[in-house]
Symmetry: C2
Subunit: 326 residues, 2 copies
Amino acid sequence: MATIIDVAKKAGVGIATVSRVINHSGYVKKETREKVEQVISEIGFVSNEIAKSMALQKNNLVAFLLPNSTHLFFGELLNSVEKELYQRGYMLMLCNSSERIEKEIIYVEMLKKSRVDGLIMLTNNNIEPFIEKQFPIVSFDRRFEDVPCVSSDNYQGGVMAARYLLDNGCHKFMFIGDDAQGEHTSVNTEVSKRRKGFIEELRRQGIHHVINIEYPLGDYNYIPETVYQSVIDHPEVDGIFANNDNIAAEVVKHLEDQGRKVPKDVKVIGFDGGRGGYRLNKTITSISQDPDAIAIALVESVVSRINGNKVNDKIIPVNFATGETA
Amino acid sequence: MATIIDVAKKAGVGIATVSRVINHSGYVKKETREKVEQVISEIGFVSNEIAKSMALQKNNLVAFLLPNSTHLFFGELLNSVEKELYQRGYMLMLCNSSERIEKEIIYVEMLKKSRVDGLIMLTNNNIEPFIEKQFPIVSFDRRFEDVPCVSSDNYQGGVMAARYLLDNGCHKFMFIGDDAQGEHTSVNTEVSKRRKGFIEELRRQGIHHVINIEYPLGDYNYIPETVYQSVIDHPEVDGIFANNDNIAAEVVKHLEDQGRKVPKDVKVIGFDGGRGGYRLNKTITSISQDPDAIAIALVESVVSRINGNKVNDKIIPVNFATGETA
DNA sequence: TTGTAAGCGTTATCAC
DNA sequence: GTGATAACGCTTACAA
């Protein structure tokens, strides 16, 4: 591959001049510029980005750490984050952690190794001890001390679900979620506020008994049988709020298998947006997160951190997405 | 950040020795190694990857160019590709092209700029004029001259769909797909073989009339109304093969809205694996692509090309995924 | 306006 | 075994 030196020689100028031409920086006489540009296109010179990164101590790469890209919402978020980074001249390095902390740590190390300029992370692990606060890190839906956090307004989402179910005549309520979002975890995820908002709003409206189903978060695709059993064991329940659309869908299916009518007998609300899946039968009523707005907030924050600025936490509004299950 | 020079000074050795220690290369006396290692952990030295890339002319990054990460199959493939690259010591740079050729070209340029070592691409655009064959490029489901191609056995998938529908008593057949996968396109996609296998197998079995619905490929999420109209306009059709599960799901929904029973009156087979979506009602019968196997083939090929080897095209078997729509 | 030269932080060759 | 030193290809003072 041709280098800047080859160009300089052939154009009969110094390498600094070539650099000025390709970066449109500093003063270059018109004829000189034209000469250089001609040589560049003649020999098909393309400047080497590694060398550039080396000199500038910056490589315009941001890593995005998330559990996987197979879940619809993650895929959407990933898509939006990449788009938004690209807009700002950054490329995205993807890390599917599968929730494995070893892999997460390796990507956190990428920052120290100057492999990436910044890191956006979405994790349920206790990665806190491994992150160094001076680096440009932004987290989604999870608070770490001194790390800016972007999250959906999960609490308000819970409130919205509670109100909708109440307004539509439900009397007995159930919440279903995995324990990484529960009250019994040491991990401080924003997502736990879905439950909190739901339960607290019901309490404010005079409902003090909510059946709270919590199961261990393993693989994101796995929902234990006991969850469905709990649903079946509580035929009195007529209003269910599930932690995400996947759970909601499975619960609806199990209810219908039992001969219950959704939403007539039981109303079910999910979380994420109800955009998911093939609408073979009905769409899920859901609290909708906005992947674009979240991505913009995440990218703005991380770029701002890269540029050495302090940034604040951001909370992104959620919407009620009308569907056919509540 | 501390550098190798700081370590060398503090340990009272040369930088070459430090390099040997951190890379476990060459001979280093035990005591020297220990001394160096101690200093490294004392000052928390981490070696700079950009500098390493610079010296080695290699950065262990592979770009993956695909239309988006929101479609289930793409998300799955992306997930598997990242995992597989990671296994082999490469990181993944993601490019969601949204099918825009300008963006694709920019990522092809990443190769010239030494930004990435290799490129895996999934595109329907006519990017051929922009790719230089000497670079490590591998394509999925699309043939370019002198570029290794990995694809599912689309033809066989079409054959399987045809046989299943025939074996299960269908008489009037329809194929539905977008035109980037059709016969009327100049672009040579492997996916067009789904249609080809389906129609040719039917012909071999004596069926010469297949209704062939082709619509323009725009946004991957968009299916024109005319497609559904065509379905409705052909009430005699009792066996439909759709180019992917999304189309299949929408077609099923429209059929059921018309009061047709699926699979009793009409059988519908999709493509991708029927894994998608929330199973609110029924799963889609589908020809299943194997994202893991595809990812392994893609990554093996690209790494092999990076190492300067020639690689052959690979065709990955598909499976019949039993579902509830056929 | 332009060129020389000193970084940027590694690896690798080659003496010692 | 080990240490100078020359790449790697660029940016950017600083000098001219």
